[in-house]
Protein backbone atom coordinates (compact mmCIF):
# COMPACT_ATOMS: atom_id res chain seq x y z
CA UNK A 1 0.00 0.00 0.00
CA UNK A 2 2.68 2.50 0.98
CA UNK A 3 4.51 2.17 -2.37
CA UNK A 4 1.21 2.44 -4.19
CA UNK A 5 0.31 5.52 -2.16
CA UNK A 6 3.71 7.07 -2.78
CA UNK A 7 3.37 6.51 -6.50
CA UNK A 8 -0.09 8.05 -6.53
CA UNK A 9 1.06 11.18 -4.65
CA UNK A 10 4.06 11.55 -6.93
CA UNK A 11 1.82 11.35 -9.97
CA UNK A 12 -0.49 14.01 -8.55
CA UNK A 13 2.44 16.36 -7.89
CA UNK A 14 4.08 15.75 -11.26
CA UNK A 15 0.82 16.44 -13.10
CA UNK A 16 -0.20 19.42 -11.03
CA UNK A 17 3.14 21.20 -11.36
CA UNK A 18 3.97 19.87 -14.83
CA UNK A 19 7.33 18.53 -13.62
CA UNK A 20 9.44 17.12 -16.39
CA UNK A 21 10.42 13.97 -14.50
CA UNK A 22 9.15 10.40 -14.14
CA UNK A 23 7.87 9.12 -10.80
CA UNK A 24 11.00 6.95 -10.45
CA UNK A 25 13.16 10.06 -10.68
CA UNK A 26 11.29 11.90 -7.93
CA UNK A 27 13.80 12.63 -5.17
CA UNK A 28 11.85 12.12 -1.94
CA UNK A 29 14.32 14.15 0.10
CA UNK A 30 14.77 17.06 -2.25
CA UNK A 31 13.10 20.22 -0.88
CA UNK A 32 9.79 20.87 -2.64
CA UNK A 33 10.82 24.46 -3.28
CA UNK A 34 13.40 23.14 -5.75
CA UNK A 35 10.59 21.48 -7.67
CA UNK A 36 8.46 24.63 -7.48
CA UNK A 37 6.00 22.89 -5.19
CA UNK A 38 4.44 24.50 -2.09
CA UNK A 39 5.18 28.03 -3.18
CA UNK A 40 1.92 29.81 -2.50
CA UNK A 41 -1.39 29.25 -0.79
CA UNK A 42 -3.40 29.00 -4.03
CA UNK A 43 -1.18 26.29 -5.51
CA UNK A 44 -1.06 24.50 -2.16
CA UNK A 45 -4.82 24.45 -1.87
CA UNK A 46 -5.12 23.15 -5.43
CA UNK A 47 -2.69 20.37 -4.54
CA UNK A 48 -4.60 19.51 -1.35
CA UNK A 49 -7.87 19.34 -3.31
CA UNK A 50 -6.30 17.06 -5.86
CA UNK A 51 -4.95 14.77 -3.15
CA UNK A 52 -8.33 14.74 -1.38
CA UNK A 53 -10.12 13.85 -4.60
CA UNK A 54 -7.71 11.17 -5.73
CA UNK A 55 -7.21 9.54 -2.33
CA UNK A 56 -10.73 10.20 -1.04
CA UNK A 57 -9.57 11.77 2.20
CA UNK A 58 -10.23 15.08 4.00
CA UNK A 59 -7.36 17.35 4.90
CA UNK A 60 -7.45 20.53 7.00
CA UNK A 61 -5.25 22.97 5.10
CA UNK A 62 -4.43 24.69 8.41
CA UNK A 63 -2.38 21.61 9.27
CA UNK A 64 -0.37 21.77 6.05
CA UNK A 65 2.36 24.18 7.04
CA UNK A 66 5.80 24.64 5.52
CA UNK A 67 7.17 21.72 7.54
CA UNK A 68 4.66 19.35 5.89
CA UNK A 69 5.32 20.83 2.47
CA UNK A 70 9.08 20.68 2.98
CA UNK A 71 9.66 17.64 0.79
CA UNK A 72 7.96 14.51 -0.48
CA UNK A 73 8.81 12.51 2.65
CA UNK A 74 7.19 14.99 5.02
CA UNK A 75 4.07 15.27 2.87
CA UNK A 76 3.83 11.52 2.45
CA UNK A 77 4.17 10.92 6.21
CA UNK A 78 1.40 13.40 6.89
CA UNK A 79 -0.94 11.87 4.31
CA UNK A 80 -0.15 8.35 5.41
CA UNK A 81 -1.19 9.26 8.96
CA UNK A 82 -4.39 10.92 7.68
CA UNK A 83 -5.58 7.79 5.92
Amino acid sequence: MSEELKLKIKEIIINKFQLEIKTAQFDESKPFIEYGVGLDSVANLELILEIEKELKINIDEAEIGSEILFNFKSLYNFINKSI
Binding site: F17, I33, G36, D40, S41, V42, A43, E52
Partner: protein, 489 residues
Protein backbone atom coordinates in the same frame (compact mmCIF):
# COMPACT_ATOMS: atom_id res chain seq x y z
CA UNK B 1 -22.48 62.24 5.98
CA UNK B 2 -19.11 63.42 4.78
CA UNK B 3 -16.71 61.15 6.62
CA UNK B 4 -16.42 57.87 8.45
CA UNK B 5 -16.12 59.59 11.82
CA UNK B 6 -19.72 60.75 11.47
CA UNK B 7 -20.84 57.35 10.19
CA UNK B 8 -19.29 55.48 13.10
CA UNK B 9 -20.49 58.12 15.56
CA UNK B 10 -24.04 57.59 14.33
CA UNK B 11 -23.75 53.80 14.38
CA UNK B 12 -22.41 53.71 17.96
CA UNK B 13 -25.97 54.07 19.24
CA UNK B 14 -26.72 50.59 17.93
CA UNK B 15 -25.95 47.94 20.46
CA UNK B 16 -24.53 45.36 18.14
CA UNK B 17 -21.17 43.88 17.19
CA UNK B 18 -19.28 45.82 14.53
CA UNK B 19 -16.14 43.74 14.11
CA UNK B 20 -15.36 40.17 15.04
CA UNK B 21 -12.01 38.51 14.51
CA UNK B 22 -10.37 35.37 15.90
CA UNK B 23 -9.53 36.98 19.21
CA UNK B 24 -12.36 39.33 20.03
CA UNK B 25 -15.53 41.13 19.13
CA UNK B 26 -16.18 44.85 19.44
CA UNK B 27 -19.46 46.75 19.26
CA UNK B 28 -20.14 49.90 17.23
CA UNK B 29 -19.81 51.86 20.47
CA UNK B 30 -16.38 50.25 21.06
CA UNK B 31 -15.44 50.99 17.47
CA UNK B 32 -16.23 54.68 17.96
CA UNK B 33 -14.38 54.93 21.28
CA UNK B 34 -11.36 52.88 20.18
CA UNK B 35 -11.00 54.84 16.94
CA UNK B 36 -11.09 58.06 18.93
CA UNK B 37 -8.47 56.69 21.31
CA UNK B 38 -6.16 55.60 18.53
CA UNK B 39 -6.75 58.82 16.60
CA UNK B 40 -5.77 60.89 19.61
CA UNK B 41 -2.71 58.70 20.14
CA UNK B 42 -1.67 59.22 16.51
CA UNK B 43 -2.23 62.95 16.87
CA UNK B 44 -0.01 62.89 19.98
CA UNK B 45 2.70 61.34 17.78
CA UNK B 46 2.61 64.54 15.73
CA UNK B 47 0.83 62.89 12.83
CA UNK B 48 -0.81 65.64 10.89
CA UNK B 49 -3.14 66.01 7.95
CA UNK B 50 -1.79 64.38 4.76
CA UNK B 51 0.95 62.50 6.64
CA UNK B 52 1.08 58.90 5.50
CA UNK B 53 0.57 55.96 7.85
CA UNK B 54 1.41 52.53 6.50
CA UNK B 55 -0.74 49.68 7.81
CA UNK B 56 1.10 46.39 7.57
CA UNK B 57 -1.45 44.03 9.08
CA UNK B 58 -3.70 41.18 7.99
CA UNK B 59 -7.51 41.42 8.29
CA UNK B 60 -8.11 42.13 11.97
CA UNK B 61 -9.82 44.55 14.32
CA UNK B 62 -6.47 46.34 14.64
CA UNK B 63 -6.37 46.88 10.87
CA UNK B 64 -9.86 48.37 10.88
CA UNK B 65 -9.13 50.64 13.86
CA UNK B 66 -5.90 51.85 12.23
CA UNK B 67 -7.65 52.55 8.94
CA UNK B 68 -10.54 54.57 10.41
CA UNK B 69 -8.19 56.39 12.80
CA UNK B 70 -6.06 57.53 9.86
CA UNK B 71 -9.19 58.90 8.22
CA UNK B 72 -10.26 60.62 11.47
CA UNK B 73 -7.10 62.70 11.71
CA UNK B 74 -6.76 63.36 7.98
CA UNK B 75 -3.73 61.12 7.57
CA UNK B 76 -3.43 59.00 4.44
CA UNK B 77 -3.75 55.27 5.06
CA UNK B 78 -1.30 53.12 3.09
CA UNK B 79 -2.23 49.45 3.43
CA UNK B 80 0.66 47.13 2.57
CA UNK B 81 -0.01 43.46 1.87
CA UNK B 82 1.55 41.45 4.74
CA UNK B 83 2.44 38.73 2.25
CA UNK B 84 4.88 41.00 0.43
CA UNK B 85 8.62 40.33 0.53
CA UNK B 86 11.59 42.59 1.18
CA UNK B 87 11.86 44.24 -2.26
CA UNK B 88 8.14 44.86 -2.47
CA UNK B 89 7.84 46.26 1.06
CA UNK B 90 10.81 48.50 0.36
CA UNK B 91 9.13 49.82 -2.79
CA UNK B 92 5.87 50.71 -1.04
CA UNK B 93 7.65 52.28 1.93
CA UNK B 94 9.92 54.34 -0.33
CA UNK B 95 7.06 55.41 -2.54
CA UNK B 96 4.66 56.43 0.23
CA UNK B 97 7.27 57.63 2.76
CA UNK B 98 5.09 56.98 5.81
CA UNK B 99 5.64 58.85 9.06
CA UNK B 100 4.46 55.81 10.99
CA UNK B 101 4.00 52.10 10.27
CA UNK B 102 1.33 50.24 12.20
CA UNK B 103 1.94 46.51 12.41
CA UNK B 104 2.05 43.42 14.66
CA UNK B 105 4.88 41.92 16.70
CA UNK B 106 5.45 39.20 14.10
CA UNK B 107 5.40 41.51 11.12
CA UNK B 108 7.69 44.02 12.87
CA UNK B 109 10.49 41.48 12.33
CA UNK B 110 9.71 41.33 8.61
CA UNK B 111 9.85 45.12 8.38
CA UNK B 112 13.15 45.31 10.24
CA UNK B 113 14.66 42.64 8.02
CA UNK B 114 13.71 44.88 5.11
CA UNK B 115 15.25 47.96 6.64
CA UNK B 116 16.38 48.25 10.25
CA UNK B 117 16.12 52.03 10.07
CA UNK B 118 12.34 51.65 10.14
CA UNK B 119 12.41 50.81 13.87
CA UNK B 120 11.61 54.37 14.96
CA UNK B 121 8.54 54.49 12.75
CA UNK B 122 7.03 51.16 13.81
CA UNK B 123 4.17 50.77 16.23
CA UNK B 124 2.92 47.30 17.03
CA UNK B 125 -0.76 47.07 17.96
CA UNK B 126 -1.07 43.30 17.71
CA UNK B 127 0.68 40.50 19.55
CA UNK B 128 2.18 39.79 22.94
CA UNK B 129 4.53 42.76 23.12
CA UNK B 130 2.53 45.61 21.66
CA UNK B 131 3.75 49.20 21.78
CA UNK B 132 0.23 50.39 22.40
CA UNK B 133 -2.47 48.32 24.07
CA UNK B 134 -5.20 49.90 22.03
CA UNK B 135 -8.00 48.00 23.78
CA UNK B 136 -7.00 49.48 27.14
CA UNK B 137 -5.68 52.80 25.95
CA UNK B 138 -7.59 55.73 27.36
CA UNK B 139 -8.75 58.62 25.26
CA UNK B 140 -6.28 61.44 25.72
CA UNK B 141 -8.93 64.10 25.78
CA UNK B 142 -8.14 66.16 22.71
CA UNK B 143 -11.32 66.50 20.75
CA UNK B 144 -10.74 65.53 17.17
CA UNK B 145 -10.94 68.40 14.78
CA UNK B 146 -12.94 66.49 12.24
CA UNK B 147 -14.11 69.70 10.57
CA UNK B 148 -10.60 70.32 9.31
CA UNK B 149 -11.00 67.41 6.90
CA UNK B 150 -12.22 68.34 3.49
CA UNK B 151 -14.06 65.83 1.30
CA UNK B 152 -11.40 66.20 -1.38
CA UNK B 153 -8.53 65.46 0.99
CA UNK B 154 -6.54 62.33 0.31
CA UNK B 155 -7.71 59.35 2.37
CA UNK B 156 -5.92 56.26 1.11
CA UNK B 157 -3.15 55.15 -1.23
CA UNK B 158 -3.88 51.98 -3.17
CA UNK B 159 -1.58 50.49 -5.76
CA UNK B 160 -2.65 49.31 -9.17
CA UNK B 161 -0.76 46.53 -10.90
CA UNK B 162 0.42 47.85 -14.21
CA UNK B 163 2.26 46.22 -17.04
CA UNK B 164 5.41 48.29 -16.73
CA UNK B 165 7.04 46.41 -13.87
CA UNK B 166 6.13 49.07 -11.30
CA UNK B 167 2.87 49.37 -9.33
CA UNK B 168 1.10 52.68 -9.87
CA UNK B 169 -0.08 54.69 -6.90
CA UNK B 170 -3.77 55.55 -6.81
CA UNK B 171 -5.03 58.12 -4.33
CA UNK B 172 -8.65 58.00 -3.26
CA UNK B 173 -10.19 60.89 -1.37
CA UNK B 174 -12.65 60.92 1.53
CA UNK B 175 -15.39 61.77 -0.98
CA UNK B 176 -14.38 58.80 -3.17
CA UNK B 177 -14.68 56.43 -0.20
CA UNK B 178 -17.93 57.84 1.15
CA UNK B 179 -19.50 57.73 -2.33
CA UNK B 180 -18.32 54.15 -2.74
CA UNK B 181 -19.83 53.08 0.59
CA UNK B 182 -23.11 54.87 -0.17
CA UNK B 183 -23.45 53.72 -3.77
CA UNK B 184 -22.65 50.07 -3.10
CA UNK B 185 -24.86 49.75 -0.05
CA UNK B 186 -27.79 51.44 -1.79
CA UNK B 187 -27.42 49.34 -4.94
CA UNK B 188 -27.26 46.06 -3.05
CA UNK B 189 -29.75 47.12 -0.39
CA UNK B 190 -27.48 46.48 2.57
CA UNK B 191 -28.87 46.93 6.07
CA UNK B 192 -27.81 46.45 9.65
CA UNK B 193 -29.24 42.96 9.91
CA UNK B 194 -26.58 41.59 7.53
CA UNK B 195 -23.48 39.73 8.60
CA UNK B 196 -20.53 39.72 6.22
CA UNK B 197 -17.45 37.51 6.25
CA UNK B 198 -14.09 38.71 4.93
CA UNK B 199 -11.35 36.22 4.09
CA UNK B 200 -9.97 38.39 1.29
CA UNK B 201 -7.76 41.27 2.41
CA UNK B 202 -9.75 44.40 3.26
CA UNK B 203 -6.61 46.30 2.30
CA UNK B 204 -7.42 45.58 -1.37
CA UNK B 205 -9.94 47.55 -3.37
CA UNK B 206 -12.53 44.75 -3.76
CA UNK B 207 -12.88 43.77 -0.11
CA UNK B 208 -12.25 47.36 1.01
CA UNK B 209 -15.31 48.58 -0.96
CA UNK B 210 -17.48 45.90 0.58
CA UNK B 211 -16.03 46.58 4.03
CA UNK B 212 -16.67 50.32 4.11
CA UNK B 213 -20.16 49.77 2.67
CA UNK B 214 -20.79 47.25 5.46
CA UNK B 215 -19.62 49.68 8.16
CA UNK B 216 -21.72 52.44 6.63
CA UNK B 217 -24.72 50.10 6.80
CA UNK B 218 -23.95 49.12 10.42
CA UNK B 219 -23.48 45.47 9.52
CA UNK B 220 -21.41 43.02 11.55
CA UNK B 221 -18.10 42.24 9.86
CA UNK B 222 -16.26 38.98 10.54
CA UNK B 223 -12.56 39.38 9.73
CA UNK B 224 -10.35 36.42 8.90
CA UNK B 225 -6.71 36.79 7.91
CA UNK B 226 -6.76 33.84 5.55
CA UNK B 227 -9.10 31.50 3.74
CA UNK B 228 -9.48 28.15 5.48
CA UNK B 229 -12.34 25.88 4.39
CA UNK B 230 -13.06 24.44 7.83
CA UNK B 231 -13.06 27.81 9.55
CA UNK B 232 -15.10 29.52 6.84
CA UNK B 233 -17.71 26.76 7.03
CA UNK B 234 -17.85 26.97 10.83
CA UNK B 235 -18.20 30.76 10.86
CA UNK B 236 -20.87 30.84 8.15
CA UNK B 237 -22.88 28.15 9.91
CA UNK B 238 -22.46 29.33 13.51
CA UNK B 239 -22.75 33.07 12.93
CA UNK B 240 -25.36 32.78 10.17
CA UNK B 241 -23.33 34.85 7.72
CA UNK B 242 -25.49 36.41 4.99
CA UNK B 243 -22.88 37.92 2.64
CA UNK B 244 -19.53 36.50 1.58
CA UNK B 245 -17.27 38.22 -0.98
CA UNK B 246 -15.15 35.60 -2.77
CA UNK B 247 -12.96 35.05 -5.78
CA UNK B 248 -13.81 32.24 -8.26
CA UNK B 249 -10.98 30.12 -6.88
CA UNK B 250 -12.57 30.10 -3.40
CA UNK B 251 -15.94 29.13 -4.92
CA UNK B 252 -14.26 26.32 -6.81
CA UNK B 253 -12.48 25.06 -3.69
CA UNK B 254 -15.68 25.17 -1.62
CA UNK B 255 -17.63 23.36 -4.35
CA UNK B 256 -14.97 20.65 -4.60
CA UNK B 257 -14.59 20.16 -0.85
CA UNK B 258 -16.45 17.83 1.43
CA UNK B 259 -18.76 20.43 3.01
CA UNK B 260 -22.34 19.91 4.12
CA UNK B 261 -24.40 22.27 1.89
CA UNK B 262 -26.69 22.98 4.86
CA UNK B 263 -23.84 24.86 6.51
CA UNK B 264 -24.27 27.64 3.95
CA UNK B 265 -28.04 28.01 4.14
CA UNK B 266 -27.87 31.47 5.79
CA UNK B 267 -25.99 32.96 2.81
CA UNK B 268 -28.05 35.39 0.75
CA UNK B 269 -25.40 37.08 -1.34
CA UNK B 270 -22.28 35.40 -2.54
CA UNK B 271 -20.10 37.82 -4.47
CA UNK B 272 -17.48 36.74 -6.98
CA UNK B 273 -14.89 39.20 -8.25
CA UNK B 274 -11.18 39.56 -8.92
CA UNK B 275 -11.24 37.15 -11.87
CA UNK B 276 -13.83 35.92 -14.38
CA UNK B 277 -16.27 33.36 -12.99
CA UNK B 278 -16.51 30.39 -15.34
CA UNK B 279 -19.80 28.64 -16.06
CA UNK B 280 -18.27 25.43 -14.75
CA UNK B 281 -17.52 26.91 -11.31
CA UNK B 282 -20.88 28.76 -11.23
CA UNK B 283 -22.77 25.53 -11.97
CA UNK B 284 -20.73 23.42 -9.56
CA UNK B 285 -21.24 25.86 -6.72
CA UNK B 286 -24.92 26.59 -7.42
CA UNK B 287 -25.75 22.92 -7.69
CA UNK B 288 -24.03 21.99 -4.47
CA UNK B 289 -25.08 24.87 -2.23
CA UNK B 290 -28.29 26.08 -3.87
CA UNK B 291 -27.07 29.68 -4.05
CA UNK B 292 -25.88 31.49 -7.16
CA UNK B 293 -22.64 33.48 -7.06
CA UNK B 294 -23.03 37.06 -8.29
CA UNK B 295 -20.24 38.66 -10.27
CA UNK B 296 -18.97 42.07 -9.22
CA UNK B 297 -16.61 44.26 -11.23
CA UNK B 298 -14.23 46.90 -9.94
CA UNK B 299 -10.70 48.22 -9.94
CA UNK B 300 -8.22 50.01 -7.70
CA UNK B 301 -8.71 53.14 -9.80
CA UNK B 302 -12.51 53.22 -9.53
CA UNK B 303 -13.73 51.05 -6.66
CA UNK B 304 -16.85 48.99 -7.34
CA UNK B 305 -18.18 49.48 -10.88
CA UNK B 306 -21.02 46.98 -11.24
CA UNK B 307 -22.69 43.92 -9.74
CA UNK B 308 -24.99 41.32 -11.21
CA UNK B 309 -28.17 41.33 -9.13
CA UNK B 310 -30.41 40.07 -11.95
CA UNK B 311 -33.36 37.88 -11.01
CA UNK B 312 -32.62 35.64 -13.94
CA UNK B 313 -29.09 34.80 -12.96
CA UNK B 314 -28.74 31.51 -14.82
CA UNK B 315 -29.00 33.12 -18.24
CA UNK B 316 -26.88 36.14 -17.26
CA UNK B 317 -24.27 34.42 -15.12
CA UNK B 318 -21.41 35.57 -17.35
CA UNK B 319 -22.28 39.22 -16.81
CA UNK B 320 -20.79 41.51 -14.18
CA UNK B 321 -24.19 43.20 -14.05
CA UNK B 322 -25.28 46.78 -14.28
CA UNK B 323 -23.34 49.77 -12.97
CA UNK B 324 -23.85 50.49 -9.28
CA UNK B 325 -25.49 53.78 -8.34
CA UNK B 326 -23.52 56.82 -9.44
CA UNK B 327 -21.34 54.96 -11.94
CA UNK B 328 -21.44 55.51 -15.71
CA UNK B 329 -20.08 52.80 -17.97
CA UNK B 330 -19.52 53.14 -21.70
CA UNK B 331 -17.98 50.92 -24.34
CA UNK B 332 -15.59 52.64 -26.70
CA UNK B 333 -14.49 51.18 -30.03
CA UNK B 334 -10.92 51.32 -31.29
CA UNK B 335 -11.75 54.38 -33.39
CA UNK B 336 -12.81 56.20 -30.20
CA UNK B 337 -16.52 56.15 -31.02
CA UNK B 338 -19.23 54.78 -28.73
CA UNK B 339 -20.05 51.12 -29.37
CA UNK B 340 -23.61 50.03 -30.05
CA UNK B 341 -25.48 47.43 -28.01
CA UNK B 342 -23.63 44.09 -28.04
CA UNK B 343 -20.71 45.70 -29.85
CA UNK B 344 -17.25 44.93 -28.50
CA UNK B 345 -14.89 47.64 -27.24
CA UNK B 346 -12.98 48.93 -24.25
CA UNK B 347 -14.90 49.46 -21.00
CA UNK B 348 -14.60 53.02 -19.71
CA UNK B 349 -15.92 54.28 -16.39
CA UNK B 350 -16.86 57.57 -14.75
CA UNK B 351 -17.90 57.94 -11.12
CA UNK B 352 -17.52 59.93 -7.93
CA UNK B 353 -15.69 57.02 -6.39
CA UNK B 354 -12.76 57.02 -8.77
CA UNK B 355 -9.35 58.62 -8.68
CA UNK B 356 -8.33 61.23 -11.22
CA UNK B 357 -4.95 59.75 -12.11
CA UNK B 358 -1.77 58.01 -11.04
CA UNK B 359 0.42 59.98 -8.65
CA UNK B 360 3.59 61.35 -10.25
CA UNK B 361 2.92 59.50 -13.51
CA UNK B 362 1.57 62.11 -15.96
CA UNK B 363 2.14 60.01 -19.08
CA UNK B 364 0.41 56.90 -17.72
CA UNK B 365 -2.39 59.11 -16.39
CA UNK B 366 -2.91 60.78 -19.76
CA UNK B 367 -3.12 57.39 -21.41
CA UNK B 368 -6.04 56.03 -19.38
CA UNK B 369 -7.78 59.01 -17.77
CA UNK B 370 -9.50 60.90 -20.56
CA UNK B 371 -12.48 63.30 -20.56
CA UNK B 372 -13.40 62.37 -17.02
CA UNK B 373 -13.44 58.65 -17.82
CA UNK B 374 -11.07 55.89 -16.71
CA UNK B 375 -10.14 53.53 -19.55
CA UNK B 376 -10.06 50.17 -17.77
CA UNK B 377 -8.17 48.19 -20.41
CA UNK B 378 -10.88 45.54 -20.11
CA UNK B 379 -12.68 44.56 -23.27
CA UNK B 380 -16.36 43.78 -23.39
CA UNK B 381 -19.83 44.85 -24.38
CA UNK B 382 -23.18 45.94 -22.95
CA UNK B 383 -26.28 43.99 -23.98
CA UNK B 384 -29.78 45.33 -24.66
CA UNK B 385 -30.67 45.08 -20.96
CA UNK B 386 -27.71 47.19 -19.93
CA UNK B 387 -25.73 44.24 -18.59
CA UNK B 388 -21.95 44.44 -18.89
CA UNK B 389 -20.00 41.47 -20.19
CA UNK B 390 -16.18 41.31 -20.02
CA UNK B 391 -14.42 39.03 -22.46
CA UNK B 392 -10.82 40.15 -22.66
CA UNK B 393 -8.22 42.62 -21.54
CA UNK B 394 -5.76 44.93 -23.23
CA UNK B 395 -3.31 44.97 -20.34
CA UNK B 396 -0.59 42.42 -19.81
CA UNK B 397 -1.76 41.21 -16.45
CA UNK B 398 -1.90 37.70 -15.03
CA UNK B 399 -4.70 37.05 -12.58
CA UNK B 400 -3.80 34.59 -9.83
CA UNK B 401 -7.07 34.00 -8.03
CA UNK B 402 -7.73 37.73 -7.81
CA UNK B 403 -4.10 38.72 -7.18
CA UNK B 404 -2.93 40.70 -10.18
CA UNK B 405 0.60 39.98 -11.36
CA UNK B 406 2.54 42.17 -13.75
CA UNK B 407 4.59 39.79 -15.95
CA UNK B 408 7.16 42.52 -16.55
CA UNK B 409 7.91 42.72 -12.83
CA UNK B 410 8.56 38.95 -12.69
CA UNK B 411 10.59 39.07 -15.92
CA UNK B 412 12.75 41.90 -14.54
CA UNK B 413 13.52 39.96 -11.38
CA UNK B 414 14.19 36.76 -13.32
CA UNK B 415 16.57 38.63 -15.62
CA UNK B 416 18.48 39.97 -12.62
CA UNK B 417 19.56 36.39 -11.78
CA UNK B 418 23.24 36.11 -12.78
CA UNK B 419 22.66 32.92 -14.79
CA UNK B 420 19.58 34.20 -16.65
CA UNK B 421 20.07 35.84 -20.02
CA UNK B 422 16.43 36.71 -20.57
CA UNK B 423 12.97 35.62 -19.54
CA UNK B 424 9.34 35.84 -20.57
CA UNK B 425 6.35 35.25 -18.34
CA UNK B 426 2.79 34.40 -19.32
CA UNK B 427 -0.43 33.28 -17.65
CA UNK B 428 -1.84 29.86 -18.49
CA UNK B 429 -5.36 28.70 -17.66
CA UNK B 430 -6.46 25.34 -16.31
CA UNK B 431 -9.83 23.67 -16.98
CA UNK B 432 -11.60 25.81 -14.35
CA UNK B 433 -10.17 28.96 -15.98
CA UNK B 434 -7.86 29.69 -13.04
CA UNK B 435 -4.62 31.23 -14.23
CA UNK B 436 -1.13 30.26 -13.12
CA UNK B 437 2.25 31.66 -14.11
CA UNK B 438 4.64 30.06 -16.54
CA UNK B 439 8.15 31.38 -17.15
CA UNK B 440 10.32 30.77 -20.20
CA UNK B 441 13.96 31.29 -19.37
CA UNK B 442 17.10 31.53 -21.48
CA UNK B 443 20.16 30.82 -19.36
CA UNK B 444 23.83 31.70 -19.77
CA UNK B 445 24.82 28.41 -18.22
CA UNK B 446 23.15 25.27 -16.90
CA UNK B 447 20.71 26.26 -14.17
CA UNK B 448 18.38 24.25 -11.94
CA UNK B 449 14.74 25.22 -11.59
CA UNK B 450 15.16 25.18 -7.80
CA UNK B 451 17.90 27.79 -7.99
CA UNK B 452 15.59 30.16 -9.82
CA UNK B 453 12.71 29.59 -7.43
CA UNK B 454 14.81 30.11 -4.31
CA UNK B 455 16.09 33.34 -5.87
CA UNK B 456 12.55 34.58 -6.57
CA UNK B 457 11.21 33.50 -3.20
CA UNK B 458 13.45 36.01 -1.46
CA UNK B 459 12.35 38.84 -3.68
CA UNK B 460 8.66 38.69 -4.55
CA UNK B 461 5.38 37.56 -2.99
CA UNK B 462 4.80 33.81 -3.30
CA UNK B 463 1.80 34.18 -5.62
CA UNK B 464 4.02 35.95 -8.19
CA UNK B 465 6.45 33.02 -8.47
CA UNK B 466 5.94 30.94 -11.64
CA UNK B 467 4.55 27.48 -10.95
CA UNK B 468 5.98 26.24 -14.20
CA UNK B 469 9.44 27.03 -15.55
CA UNK B 470 10.65 26.00 -18.98
CA UNK B 471 14.24 26.50 -20.08
CA UNK B 472 14.36 27.50 -23.72
CA UNK B 473 16.97 28.42 -26.33
CA UNK B 474 15.41 31.75 -27.16
CA UNK B 475 12.37 33.96 -26.58
CA UNK B 476 10.28 34.75 -29.67
CA UNK B 477 10.35 38.48 -30.36
CA UNK B 478 9.09 40.98 -32.90
CA UNK B 479 11.56 42.95 -35.05
CA UNK B 480 11.28 45.77 -32.49
CA UNK B 481 12.29 43.42 -29.67
CA UNK B 482 8.83 43.02 -28.13
CA UNK B 483 8.17 39.58 -26.62
CA UNK B 484 5.66 37.65 -28.73
CA UNK B 485 3.72 36.15 -25.85
CA UNK B 486 1.12 34.53 -28.10
CA UNK B 487 3.91 32.32 -29.47
CA UNK B 488 4.68 31.05 -25.97
CA UNK B 489 2.52 28.47 -24.25
Amino acid sequence: MNNFYEIIEKNQKLEKPALVDDLQSISYKDLFVLCNNLSSYLASKKIRKADRIAIFLPNSIEFALSFFSCLNIGAIAVPINPKFKKNEIQYYINDSNPKLIITSDTLRTVLLETNNKLEKKIISLKGEEVDLDIFNHKYLGDKLNINSINENDKAIYLYSTGSTGIPKRVTRTHKNLISLANNHSETVGLDKSEKILFTLPISHTYALGNFIAAIKSAMTCYLQGDFNRKKVTQIIEKEKITIYPCVPFILDVLAESNIDPKSFKSLKLLISAGAPLSKEVFDKFSEKFGIHPRQLYGSSETGIISINLEKDITSTLGSVGKPVKGVTVKIIKEDGKDANTNEQGEIIVKSETMTTGYDNLPEETKEVFKNGFYYTGDLGYVDKNGLIYINGRKKLIINISGNKVDPTEVENILSSHPKVKEAAVIGISNQSSHESIKAFIVCNEKTEKGEIIVYLKNKIADYKIPNIIEFVENIPKSPTGKILRNKLG
